[in-house]
Amino acid sequence: MIIDNILFGLTNVLQPFNLLLIALGTSIGLFVGSMPGLSATMAIAILLPLTFGLDPAAGISMLASLYMGAMYGGSIAAILLKTPGTPAAAATIMDGYPMAQKGYPGKAFGISLTSSFIGGMISALVLLTVAPLLGKLALEFGPVELFAVAVLGMTIIGSLVRGSTVLGLLSGSIGLLLALIGMDPTTGTPRFTFGNMYLFSGIPFVVALIGLFSIPQAIHLIEQKSSMNTGEINPIEDKMLPTFKEFRKLIVTILRSSGIGVVTGLIPGTGGDTACWFAYNEAKRWAKDKTGFGQGRPEGIASAEAANNAVVGGALIPTLTLGIPGSSSTAVLIGGLMVHGILPGPTLMTEHADVTYTLIWGLFFANIFMFIIGLMFTRATIYVTKIDNKVIAPLIVVLAVVGSFAINNSFFDVILMFLFGILGYFMNKIDMPTAPMVIGLILGHMFDTSLNQSLLMSRGSWMIFLRSPISAILLTLALFSALQSTPLFGLIIRTFKKKVLNNN
């Protein structure tokens, strides 16, 4: 069955139109990634409506390719301008920029592209092998386990986002509450609709995420007095691809960093921005000769770039098997599935296997296209970094408006998108992350349904969540993940250590 699905996905992705869309998605990703200030998540969100008119498998594969392309694209501005195109390319600056300054920008791009390609391929391979097995296991989950998975996902996302854990968890909880607006799935009663008929079907998730990810970014692009990309750009004149000797020296670093990227991607709430630093520091730690890092060491570029591309496949594993998005970009991809009527969760690997396996194979081809397009067009793409953010910002707004209207042919949705945009802007200003809110909006329905079903099964006894071993373990982990980042937890650990030392 799994083999059949894998083969079906492969034949589906090989259709010329699908390959064309994957190449298009990768090119857009490269373009978006190379522009400082634009994120892959925002690009996926505003281009999501484009998939309405397409076959779901082809449309989602295009968006996943965009995600992959943006990961490499982010290194272009990092290497040339010392400004990461995406947060995931932050560590690439450390050695990419010095190498370019020494007169080898082509070599820096070549290492970045090769490492991105290998990292992406490894992550796609892990996704293809691990996801079906995990998906099979997830099919055994009942409402009790699903509730525990959702709680764990939510607490990990809330506690691992950058900045304050409390703000992350608060953002996620608000997202969950907003997701409950609409008809209650168990009793069929309208909930928190305030008499507004547009809210009977709930807050359209895609509208909310377009608003949360595009409008704040558009305002952010114009609010800064100084533009970041004003420097002179020298054309790339040196050779791009590394020689076999150079490649052999880098392969261990690339493989190790790819592993780090996949594992980091697997953990909900962590993404390319965490993975790139983790891999960079490990490359430094494992290096026999530790000198030269920060001055243009090829291992520095290779580690960061392999890791951030490897995150893509890793982040898709919990997304496709459990319906828990590993990052904000995969949350938007889930939104893409939802607009086509495909609900996230374990059934993605069975009932919607055609879409899921096409998407997985799409990642392999996105990597191949990324390598080819990167080799052919990186020299030209460097000029994209010079486009003024003030030109881009109004166009982002227009695309957000058109996209949010296209979902239900409704002006109410456009207004809702704008309100979520303003909300997202203020959340950014107080450093409250928007990703947990989006994930709360996705998981709210699953939370509510699985909780009510579990309590119906146990006739109202909450002990049901502790009777199932899987659920008990997951909920204990959730409790630890929420507590581990609180000052209280640190205090307990310090007191415990002190006591142990005193006893000894």
């Binding site: 409390v166 209650d184 168990t186 114009i222 003024d388 227009v398 408006v401 209207f405 296209a406």
Partner: protein, 160 residues
């Protein structure tokens, strides 16, 4: 202290008001439909209070000397972010609001070119000639992709 933390006090007030409004609405719901929302409302209130405590503690401990722990080599670009022009951000947000609210009556193909050109002029993005050319090109792109290729709806307003 209030001056330094006003953003968080305002956030707490707004979140607690929202939680209060939602809580008041749970009274009419069947017990099963209100179970999860009520749990969430309690959690939201708890985290809101925790947020305030955290920010107040941060403010109180702000002046205490700290041992700086360097996790990794933070790049210089993080310091290169320019000063924020809130007035410009506010005016741009108002422009977006006007654009969104006039879309229904006037339609996409009338309001959008006006919005883009006015925004470009206000932000001093490019010359008037380039603004008009970009606007025409962009709208043609949206028309071809959304209307012609994907058959997606576009608000036509008075042109319908």
């Amino acid at each position: 202290m209030f001056k330094a933390l006003w953003k968080y006090f305002l956030t707490a007030a707004l979140v607690l008001t929202m939680a209060g409004v939602f809580y008041s609405r749970t009274g009419k719901l069947p017990s099963m439909a209100k179970r999860f929302p009520i749990i969430l409302i309690y959690i939201i209130v708890f985290f809101t209070i925790l947020m305030l405590v955290e920010q107040i503690l941060k403010f109180v401990n702000k002046d205490k000397p700290k041992k700086k722990k360097k996790k990794n080599n933070e790049p210089e670009w993080e310091d290169a972010v320019g000063e924020i022009n809130y007035l410009k951000a506010f005016i741009f947000a108002v422009m977006i609001g006007v654009y969104v609210f006039t879309l229904k009556s006037l339609g996409y193909f009338i309001v959008t070119p006006i919005f883009i050109v006015v925004a470009f002029m206000y932000l001093k993005s490019t010359s008037l000639r380039n603004s008009i050319l970009i606007t025409l090109g962009f709208n043609l792109f949206v028309y071809l992709v959304f209307v012609k290729f994907l058959n997606l709806p576009i608000p036509m307003g008075i042109l319908s």
